[in-house]
Structure formats: C-alpha cells, structure tokens
C-alpha cells in the first residue's frame, strides 16, 4: 500500500517535475522574446535618437510657446473629428501677441503663428470650409462692404484688404479681397506680393467665381516684371492648356488669354557678368607684365610666427587679403583696416587712412584677439564707402569715441570716396558685426551678435547718417566663436527681393524678414556644418590649425534661391515665395557655390565644377591648385577666370578645359579676388594688388551652354 502510494507520489513528482521544466523552458523563451522586443525597440529608439543627436545643430530660431503648438494640434484633432465649433474655438484662443516666435510648419520650415493658422484653414475639407463661413462670413462681408461703399480709395484700404486676406480668406469674399489686394500691390510696384495674392486664389481658393484665366494672365504680367522666366513659362503653359479659347479684359482691352500671356515671355539673353557689357568678350593679356602694382608689405608677414600657436603663419591660419571696390575712376581697398584709394589707370595712391609700416602690429593684434581678416570689409554704395575696421585705440582716440585696446570688435565706418574722410561711424550698435553690409534703398543692413545675450540681430542703419533705424532678433547661432576666441565673421549672406530681406545665417537657418512690417515671415532650418570643437587640434607635441572653411552662399536665379552653408554637405534650392524646398543635393563639404549663370551653377573647392540646376548632374570638373582658398571666380562670356597660387586660369565654361594660365606678376601672395574695372583686371592678393590690361572684343558666339 505504502509502496503504491509512494509509487504514485513518485510518478506525480516526476510529472510535476516535467511540467515545471516545460514551464521553465517556455517561460524562458517568452522572457527572451520579450527581452528581444525590448532590445529591438530600444535599439530602434536609440538609432532614432542617435540620428537626432548626430543631426547638425545650428541656428536656434525663436519659437513660440509650446501651448500655441498644442492649440494648433487641438485644431487638427477637432477638425479630424469634424467638431468645427471646438476647432475654430481652439484657433481663436491663440493669442499671437503673448507669444512672439515661430511655429513648425513641416520640412524644416517655421512660420509665424498667423501664417500657420492660415495654412491650417486652407487645408480644411469642404464641410470645414462651409462651417468656417457660417462663423465668419458676417464679419468678412461687413469689412468688404465698407470698402465697396467707400468713395475713391479709402486710406485704410490696404490694411483692410490684408486683414480680409489674413483672417477671412476662406469666406465668400476672401477671393475678391485677395484679387483686389493683388491689383493694389501691382500698382504700387510690389509685383511679388501681387503675384502671391493671385496665386493664392488660383491654388488655394476652392470655389472662386473669379475668372481663373484672368488671374493667371495677371500672374504672368507680375512674373514678367519680376524677371522670373521659368515660373512665367510654367504659368503660360497652364494658360495655353486650360484657357486657350478664352478672352480676358485687362486695362479695358479684351485680349486673347494665351496669346497675351505668351507675349509677356522675354527673349533669352545671356546673363551678364559683373563688369562685362552686352556681347563683350574679355581677353586676358598674353604677357605677365602688369599695368601697375601696389605692394602691401606682404614680406613682413611671411615668416611671422603665430603668437597663439607658435607655428609659422600660413594661408590656412591667417589670410590678410584686401577687400576691394571700384568705381569709374578709382580702386579702393581695405587692408586690415588701412583703407586707401588708387587711380584705376596709373595705380597711383590718392589717399589712405593709415600707414602700412605697422603691418606687423596689425597682424599680431588680429591674431591675438581672434579678429577674422574677412571682417575688414569694403563696400561701395551710393557714393559712399562702408568699411570694417577697428576704432582708434590710443588715449586720444578713446576719448574721442575710439575703443579700448582689448575690444576685439570691428566697427562700421562710412568714408567719403573722394577724400577718405570719415562721414559717420556706427559705434553704438551694442553688437559685433558678423556680415558684410548689404545696402538696399539707402538702408544698410548688417547682421550682428548682440553683446548682452549672443543672439543674432538684423540691424537696419541709415546710409546717410549711420543711425540704427530698427533691429529685429533673428535667433541664436551656435559656435559663433572661432578657435582664437574671437567671433567668426562673414557667415551671413543677404538677398533682397520684393520687399523681403532674406538672411542666410551660415549656421543652419535661412530667414525671410519683411522690410515693411519688420517681422520674420518664415524661417527654414537646414543642414549646416557639423559642430566643431573650439579647441585647437594637437598632434604629437606640435599644433595643427584647422583647415580654412569654405564660405556659405546664398545666390538667386530666376526666383529660386540656392543655399549652402560653409563646410556643409547639402545644397538647397528654395522657392522663397511658397516658401518651400524644391530640392536638395549632396555636394562636397569642401565646395562652395560661387556663381550661377543661367541654368549652370559653379562650385569651387579643390576643383571648379559646373552643376546643371535642372538635371542636378555634374557637367564637368576642373582640378585647380591644392589649396582651397574659397575664391570667387569671375564669370564672363566664354570665359571663367579663377585665381590660384599658380596664376589666373582662363577656363572654358562649356567643358571646363583650361585655355591658358596667366602667371602674372604677383608670385608671392595669394590672390583672393578678381575685379573687372574698365579695361583693367585687378587681382587683389594678400601681398599686392595688381592690375593687368585686358581686351574687350565682340564675343564670337554667345548663348546657352550645351548641357550633357
């Protein structure tokens, strides 16, 4: 009996044991599987966060409060559920005034809150738009009625029209307001704004009763005035396709839509280079003899020891090239703050602001205080010279408004080109200037790093007096200091078009600033150079200075901006009107986009390369000297001139072949800039400025270059 019980117990125990083993095995698999899932998902998250962590960190734009973003998200959520009252209530709760800043709009774009709200409304489905009209038509019609009833042009017509478009575009009168606003802007000469309004109605207003053919034809007129040929051809093609048989009334005349649109397309003409006239070809001299040459104590710099590194100075660590400007009779240059004027024909110096005998001291001071040589800019504008230089640091100079010796900032001075006398000095900016001045309509725009909070500001100064008219904060740059402790100069580039100033920070952001409202219209955050450590790089008891970085670029062609930050790897094509990124393409971080001629962009690094902007293929590439000096080539009909350490190369733009090399008369310095002035080609180097005689002849053949 006991044996039986024992046997039964033994069997049970064995069965229990087997079950336990099975459970343990299965459980282990489950645990392992769960662990794998956790690891996998954690791995994926880690990879994503790694990508985020490794993404280039650049310019930080001022962003709106996160609550605003949440309200926008609420709107999207309620819209999805078709709870229109709650959705519109969420939008109306947004207080733009309490939260200055931009909100994300996708694809790196940031826009003002109002713009984002408009975008959200434009994306409403039909029932949403109907609901929107129920809530807002009454107010909109009231405003529209005031404009209709007023006699003549009301004083606040533009303001009212803008309000109708910005706040009530989707109402039943929104398209009418936008069309009328477009007409008003066109009459004022704001063709870009006008085209934008008509495009808004065509593309975004779903059920307009306005004649779309007329709107498109008016767009063609605006685009023709803007010179945006490619966009014009696109719209003309649309008119030809959709409205071929329609007639429109413009200026009291009845016109055939397609024919009139086609008549607005200008004939093709080659892009004129700087300094070359219509149909002229520039021929380099055959001999190396210059017409004149000004030597700038370059010999003093050769062999100098860098006080910070203890190594001999080379072109990678310091480059003292002059900035130059020309007018009809004179050549002007700024060499480390010593500004002079020379006669274009003879090279004879007419005036100068400082002696060159203190070159050694200038270079040493610049190196010790980390002043970028590019900060010694020179811009000719409106019969004035704008120069970057240090203020007087002697005691008398300090008493008269100079600067302290330890102050390493450069100031913006305005000089009279005839005499070199100081007209005004902008020395109360409370900011360190980091961009070359950009002059539009007698206003000088510069970017500066604020002294108190290291933000980048756009400052507008009067060209006549140098007084600051207004300033707007753009955001916070990253790594704005160089490894010598000074602030980097030369990053931001500017372009003005249609009342908007576009600022490429060379730090990962392109900002559009409306010059009338002095507000940021939109910002695009994009790829930039990897964050660099400000430490010097050591190797085996010696020091190695970092290689010269390429400069950032913002160029425009046919209404499209081409943007690349210095030492970044992506070239962007941006439509500023949309705004939207049309395409982006990797190119070498060593390359900088230096010029655009028609549909061809020229990239300069270790090679000069030609990139077709339509196909985005590299057409050709020509190897130059080993040193990357981030030069700017001179584009002329049938010729591209690039200055290298081996001379001035004459390159065929059709295929990149080297026609010839002008060795020149300046073998000691590195020529950094070529300027065409009259019948002189001026090569500006860090040891000399040399003028060569050129011939201007009728070009044998002109026109578009063949593409592959």
């Amino acid at each position: 009996m006991y044996l039986i019980v024992g046997a039964l117990c033994g069997r049970a125990a064995r069965a229990l044991l087997r079950a336990a083993v099975v459970v343990a095995i299965v459980g282990r698999i489950a645990i392992s599987a769960h662990a794998q899932v956790v690891v996998t998902s954690a791995g994926v998250e880690d990879a994503a966060s790694d990508d985020q962590a490794n993404a280039p960190k650049g310019f930080a734009v001022l962003k709106a409060d996160s609550k605003i973003v949440e309200m926008l998200e609420d709107f999207k959520r309620y819209s999805g559920k078709k709870s229109w009252e709650l959705a519109f209530h969420a939008l109306s709760s947004i207080d733009e005034a309490s939260s200055p800043g931009l909100v994300p709009a996708g694809d790196g774009l940031l826009v003002p809150i109002r713009t984002r709200v408009e975008q959200c409304l434009l994306r409403l489905p039909p029932e949403g738009r109907d609901a929107y009209r129920v809530f807002n038509d009454a107010n909109a019609k009231q405003l529209w009625g005031r404009l209709q009833d007023a006699r003549g042009m009301p004083s606040d017509e533009l303001e009212t029209l803008r309000k109708l478009v910005e706040h009530y575009f989707l109402t039943s009168v929104g398209d009418l307001a936008a069309d009328r606003l477009g007409d008003a802007l066109f009459e004022q000469g704001d063709f870009s704004g006008a085209e934008g309004m008509w495009r808004l109605v065509v593309e975004k207003y779903p059920d307009s009763h306005l004649s779309l053919a007329k709107l498109q034809v008016k767009r063609c007129a605006a685009l023709s005035q803007l010179g945006r040929r490619d966009a014009l051809l696109t719209v003309v093609a649309q008119v030809r396709e959709k409205y071929a048989d329609q007639t429109v009334t413009i200026g009291g005349r009845e016109l055939h839509a397609a024919e009139f649109a086609e008549s607005l397309v200008p004939t093709v003409s080659p892009t004129q280079p700087s300094g070359a006239k219509d149909g002229e070809e520039v021929i380099l001299p055959t001999a190396d003899e210059p017409v004149w040459q000004i030597r700038i104590a370059g010999a003093n710099i050769a062999g100098m020891i860098d006080p910070q590194t203890g190594m001999p100075i080379n072109s990678a660590s310091f480059r003292a090239a002059s900035s130059g400007a020309v007018d009809e009779k004179r050549f002007y240059a700024n060499w480390l703050g010593a500004i002079y004027a020379a006669d274009l024909e003879t090279g004879k110096m007419i005036w100068r602001t400082d002696k060159f005998t203190d070159a050694f001291q200038r270079v040493t001071t610049s190196l010790q205080q980390g002043i970028s040589p590019e900060g010694f800019f020179l811009v000719a504008a409106g019969h004035k010279l704008l120069a970057g230089r240090r203020g007087s640091t002697n005691l008398l100079g300090q008493l008269l408004g100079g600067q302290l010796p330890q102050d390493n900032s450069l100031r913006l001075d305005c000089l009279d080109p005839a005499s070199g006398k100081l007209v005004w000095s902008a020395n109360q900016l409370d900011a360190t200037i980091v961009s070359t001045p950009y002059v539009v309509d007698d206003v000088v725009y510069v970017a500066g790093i604020a002294a108190n909070n290291s933000t980048m500001n756009l400052l507008a100064l009067s060209l006549a007096t140098g007084q600051v008219q207004w300033r707007v904060q753009l955001g916070t740059p990253q790594n704005s200091r160089n490894w010598r402790g000074g602030i980097n100069f030369g990053g931001p580039n500017m372009r003005a078009e249609g009342g908007v100033l576009y600022v490429a920070t060379d730090n990962g952001a392109l900002l559009a600033v409306d010059l009338a409202s002095r507000q940021i219209k939109w910002a695009l955050q994009h790829d930039t150079k990897p964050p660099t450590d400000n430490r010097r790089i050591f190797w085996a008891n010696g020091m190695m200075t970092t290689a010269t970085e390429t400069s950032g670029a913002l160029l425009d062609e046919d209404g499209v901006f081409y943007l690349k930050d210095g030492s970044a790897r992506l070239l962007y094509a941006v439509d500023p009107a949309a705004p939207a990124v049309q395409w982006k393409r990797p190119i070498s971080a060593d390359d900088s986009i230096v010029a655009i001629d028609g549909q061809t962009a020229y990239l300069l690094g270790h090679e000069l390369s030609a990139l077709d902007l339509k196909s985005r293929n590299l057409l050709w590439s020509t190897k130059l000297s080993d040193e990357n000096l981030a030069l700017r080539p001179l584009i002329c009909p049938e010729h591209i001139f690039v200055s290298t350490v081996r001379g001035i190369f004459d390159i065929d733009p059709a295929n990149g072949d080297i026609r010839r090399v002008l060795r020149g008369a300046d073998h000691e310095s590195r020529v950094c800039q070529l300027v065409l002035a009259g019948d002189r080609l001026i090569a500006i180097g860090d040891a000399a400025v040399t003028a060569y005689p050129i011939q201007r002849t009728k070009a044998v053949k002109l026109g578009r270059r063949p593409t592959k």
């Binding site: 450590d533 190797w539 070498s588 090679e607 050709w620 190897k623 072949d657 080297i658």
Partner: protein
C-alpha cells in the same frame, strides 16, 4: 613462422638501420667539419652608370559624396591631364598608369581627432577615386644637363597646371609623416632619375665584388701561411632596406602598400648625377693542401 627465424630477421633489420644512421652521421660530421675549414670573406664592388630615364609620380583623384560626382571629377581630371601631357608632343614622354583605387575619403582633421581619441563628428564618407601614374621621360642620357632640366621643369609645370599632383601624396597626419621619414629618401623626391636596366652594371659590380673577395682571401691566406684554394660557396647579400616594426604595423592599419616593388632591378636617385649599383658577396675559399 619459426620464432628463431623471426628473431634473426629482426636482428638483420636493426643492423641495417644502424648502418644507415652511422653513414648519415658520418656525412654530417664531414659537412660540419667542411664548414669550419677554409677562408670566409666578404667582397664588395660597385659600378656607376648615367640615368637614362626620369620618372615623376603623378596622382589624379576625384572625391565627392556622390559616386557619380566622383566619377565626373576623376574622368575630367584624367582626360585633361593626359591631354596636356600629350600636348607637349614629345615622343620620349609617356604616362604609365598604376591603376585606379576606390576608397573612402576622410579629411585630415577627422583622422587626427581619431588618432588623439577625440569624439569625431558623424559625417558621411565620401567616394574617392585615385590613380597614381608615372610620367616617364626616356633617353635622358642623351640630353645635355641644362636641356634635360628645362624639359623636366616644363613637364612639371604642365602637369601641375593640368591637375596632376606631382610627387608623393602629402601626409595626411603625423603618423603618415613618421612612416615616410622612416622610409628614408626613396619615394619622397618629386623627380626620380632612374636606370631601368642594370644588367651590365650588375655584371661589373659582381666582378668587382669577386675580385675584392679574392684579394682579401689571398691576403688572409698569405698572412696565415696557407694556400688559397677553390671557391666553395658564394652568398649574395644584395642591397635594400626593410620597414621597421612600427612602420609595418601602421602600414597594415592604413592598408598602405610598400613602395618597394618585387623583382625591381632598376636603380634610382634623386639627383641627375651617376647612379651607383653596389654588390656584396660572402665568398668561402678552400684552403688548398
């Protein structure tokens, strides 16, 4: 089988084996004894000849993030460079390709940061196409020195203008520079003066080395009061250098090839003067009885 017969067979085998071992030992002893006898000397000789060929190492490269861009850069550079050399219209001038390599370009700063253990920025690798060729000018022994120099400088100018990188590629970091320094002068000169066919020189050098060995051995024999016999063995010690251990290791890490080619019977120098080929032989003479 008869056990007694088995024992007999075994004994026979053992005897045969012992006999073989004894013979072998005797031969070895004889050989050992031979190596210690005689006179062992080292003879050296040299012969000079005028370089008949000039070579310049010329590198072409194309580097870009996109492979298609790298191809365009490389092909354009090669087309232009070869056309420029051909444009000199010199029948004695040619470009000998060393083949194309495809690699990933890394900039010098990033390499140094890695060497120093610093955190490097996460940048995409580039595609780099490189072709190292030799620009060869033959029959230079028939040129006057000034004429040769003028020709070489003209070729250098044209090659550099057209995009060739003349001479060895610059060191990208301190460690590469160290290896180059340890390798000495070979491969570091921009222009190399060469004598490709050294057969005649070798003959003369060997003859001089044998004669030198004979005279040394004779002298020793005379001093020893012995009579010099026949030559028993000759060992050619050759010439050349080998990498240090450190250089070998770093070359392995970088995947760099040694500059020395196998079976290279040419000699080269960095100046246009006569080239010297040396030979070193270890010769063993028998002492005649």
């Amino acid at each position: 089988m008869n056990p007694h017969l088995r024992v007999f067979d075994l004994t026979q085998s053992v005897r045969s084996l012992a006999t073989c071992i004894a013979v072998l030992a005797a031969s070895l002893m004889a050989a050992t004894v031979s190596a210690d006898e005689g006179i062992l000397v080292r003879g050296t000789g040299s012969a000079t000849g005028r370089p008949s060929q000039i070579e310049m190492s010329a590198t072409l490269s194309g580097e870009a993030e996109l492979a298609a861009d790298a191809m365009v850069k490389f092909h354009d550079a090669k087309r232009r460079a070869l056309a420029a050399i051909a444009g000199l219209k010199d029948p004695d001038l040619s470009v000998v390709s060393g083949g194309v390599s495809v690699g990933s370009g890394t900039d010098a700063n990033t390499q140094m940061m890695m060497m120093q253990g610093m955190a490097v920025p996460n940048t995409p690798q580039k595609v780099r196409l490189t072709e190292t060729s030799r620009i060869v000018l033959v029959h230079t022994d028939k040129l006057e020195p000034d004429e040769m120099l003028s020709k070489v400088l003209k070729i250098l100018d044209v090659a550099k203008d057209s995009g060739f990188q003349i001479g060895p590629v610059p060191a990208r970091n301190y460690y590469e520079m160290q290896i180059r320094a340890q390798q000495g002068g070979d491969g570091s000169a921009t222009v190399s003066f060469k004598l490709p066919d050294t057969s005649a020189l070798r003959e003369r050098a060997y003859k001089a080395a044998i004669d030198d060995a004979k005279s040394k051995a004779q002298r020793l024999a005379d001093l020893s009061g012995a009579k010099l016999g026949r030559i028993i063995s000759v060992h050619d010690e050759g010439v050349g250098n080998s990498d240090s251990d450190n250089a070998s290791m770093v070359r392995y890490v970088y995947g760099m090839r040694s500059n020395k080619e196998v079976e290279d019977r040419s000699i080269a120098g960095s100046n246009s003067g006569d080239l010297t080929l040396g030979a070193s032989l270890t010769v063993q003479f028998e002492i005649a009885k």
